[in-house]
Subunit: 296 residues, 2 copies
DNA sequence: ATAATATACTTAAACGTGTAAATGAATTAA
DNA sequence: TTAATTCATTTACACGTTTAAGTATATTAT
């Protein structure tokens, strides 16, 4: 690989001068370079096909323009992919590179060690488990690595962007209540993650506020991972005569909402005529569902 | 940050000895370290909270355990996310970090420059445009950076993994023909990308081989990006009396297959009784479609 | 008893860059 | 006319690590 010294030799100057020119630092007080030399250096760099060594530069400056995206999943879920896409876009704009780490394929301890060893400039953390977050955040703080979070329930301290799980679900209830629905059911997650609880609380709060006289609040517990186990739970929820079963179902995710559509189809319940279905996240599946899916 | 020299000072040895111990290189011919010293060094490193500086190490060794994933899209599409997920998994296993680059947010020229400047160990390239691939591949070759591809039609030379677009679609025809279908339509992409053409050719080849007496081969051209424009095209394709219209439709993607399901639902055509629908890619939308979607 | 060798280190150079400080020449100021 | 300043460049060190080569000291072989 051709170095700054090769360029210097070819242009007949010292490597410091080359550095000043190639970094645009030429011009200030002690770093002035004549136009002739400047041109010769640029020409030499061009002819030799010089390309800066970022590792050496990082070594010298102590900076490393890399941010880490640490996720409990990187892209197998559509949602994570979209978050990452946005991160890469903005990072690129600011001349930062993005390194990606999976919690699923490593431990938090391992990942934080790597982040420090690689002297990343900052971390963006994404997980549905706040225990990992707390660990990463405190370790990062110790080493003065800035840390932000995406899409975690807002219970955790520090800088981050998140969906408003509570309010979002509450709004969904308000929307349905406004359409005249009284018997609204909610399908929750068996895993008691932060967002599970927040959304569920949002549902309960919404029902209390917008459907005050509704005695029953049906909450079913679906599971995200095992697709087949969900349908029986949903069928159970939708069983009963038309004047007893719910007229609307709010689901903690779009995937579950699709399951509801499937169950309704199999049971001959018409959507949206006899049943309204609302999901959460606005994933592709919402847009491509056979009947249009409303989503938070 | 605490360096190897701080550890050396605390342990009362030279920094070279520390390096040998911390890298497990102690023991060979000229790099032997006594057990006492070894323990003292480890203890010192522990107490000081020493963490290796990977940048300096890269500088010294000339190696950089980072591979780049360059994509025309990183995760906004579910498919890309899944590819990346696999890459990160295997890279982690081999102690490599993964840096992510978007072609959408930069140019191929810019990206290849960064890859070289950052001295990445290798590139995995993912794009539906082989013109970008050819450029990246030749530039990478010049600088001796190994380059592999994922999910590009196999027309491009070099190492890579790809879907067999031709054979996959041909198999779909074979499958339908085996079920007795004669009037099979294909929905293709308006953009003439490599995979578009390969899949289309696979359909034509399949029809010739497995449905030889079928005079007509209907090929419609949908579009992936603009959702609303697809439905009229599909409705047109499905119009006509039951003994004239196709009994099966093969789509170049699962998303389009979902559009077909939507159109069929609106037109009162029963799936799968009156119409079979086949997609491509096995995305989430296939699993969560209201009626089960067969997919390549 | 001396030479050869093994042991347990240390010294020193290297990786490629950035940058403060030094330097000599040319220009301007007093 | 000499001192001060500006200009253009070089020298030299730093960043934190790896690693080849050097060096005492202790052990073994002859």
């Amino acid at each position: 690989m051709v170095t700054i010294k090769d360029v210097a030799r070819k242009a007949g100057v010292s490597h410091a001068t080359v550095s000043y020119v190639l970094n645009g630092k030429a011009g200030q007080a002690k770093t002035r370079v004549s136009d002739v030399a400047s041109e010769r250096i640029k020409a030499a760099a061009d002819q030799l096909g010089y390309q800066r060594n970022e590792i050496a530069r990082s070594m010298a400056t102590g900076r490393n323009d890399v941010i880490a995206f640490v996720s409990c999943d990187t892209g197998a879920w559509e949602y994570t992919g979209k978050i990452m896409s946005g991160i890469v876009e903005e990072a690129t704009r600011q001349s930062f590179a993005v390194k990606v780490y999976h919690l699923a394929h490593s431990t938090p301890e391992n990942i934080i060690r790597q982040l420090i060893e690689q002297r990343v400039a900052g971390v963006i953390f994404h997980s549905d488990r706040s225990i990992d977050l707390d660990f990463i955040r405190s370790e990062a703080a110790k080493k003065h690595i800035p840390c932000a979070t995406v899409n975690l329930s807002s219970t955790s301290a520090g800088i981050g962007v998140t969906t408003d799980d509570f309010q979002g679900t509450k709004e969904a209830v308000k929307y349905l209540a406004g359409l005249g629905h009284r018997r609204i059911a909610y399908i929750s997650n068996r895993l008691r993650l932060e967002f599970t609880v927040s959304r569920e609380n949002g549902f309960v709060a919404g029902m209390k506020e917008y459907v005050p006289r509704s005695g029953v609040m049906q909450i079913a517990y679906g599971i995200s991972t095992d697709y087949d186990e969900n349908l029986p739970v949903i069928r159970e929820l939708l069983s009963g005569s038309e004047d007893k079963r719910p007229t609307a179902v709010i689901c903690y995710s779009d995937y579950i909402a699709c399951n509801v559509l499937q169950a309704a189809y199999q049971m001959g319940i018409k959507v949206p005529e006899e049943l309204s279905v609302i999901g959460f996240a606005d994933l592709d599946v919402a847009k491509y569902a056979t009947v249009p899916l409303t989503t938070v």
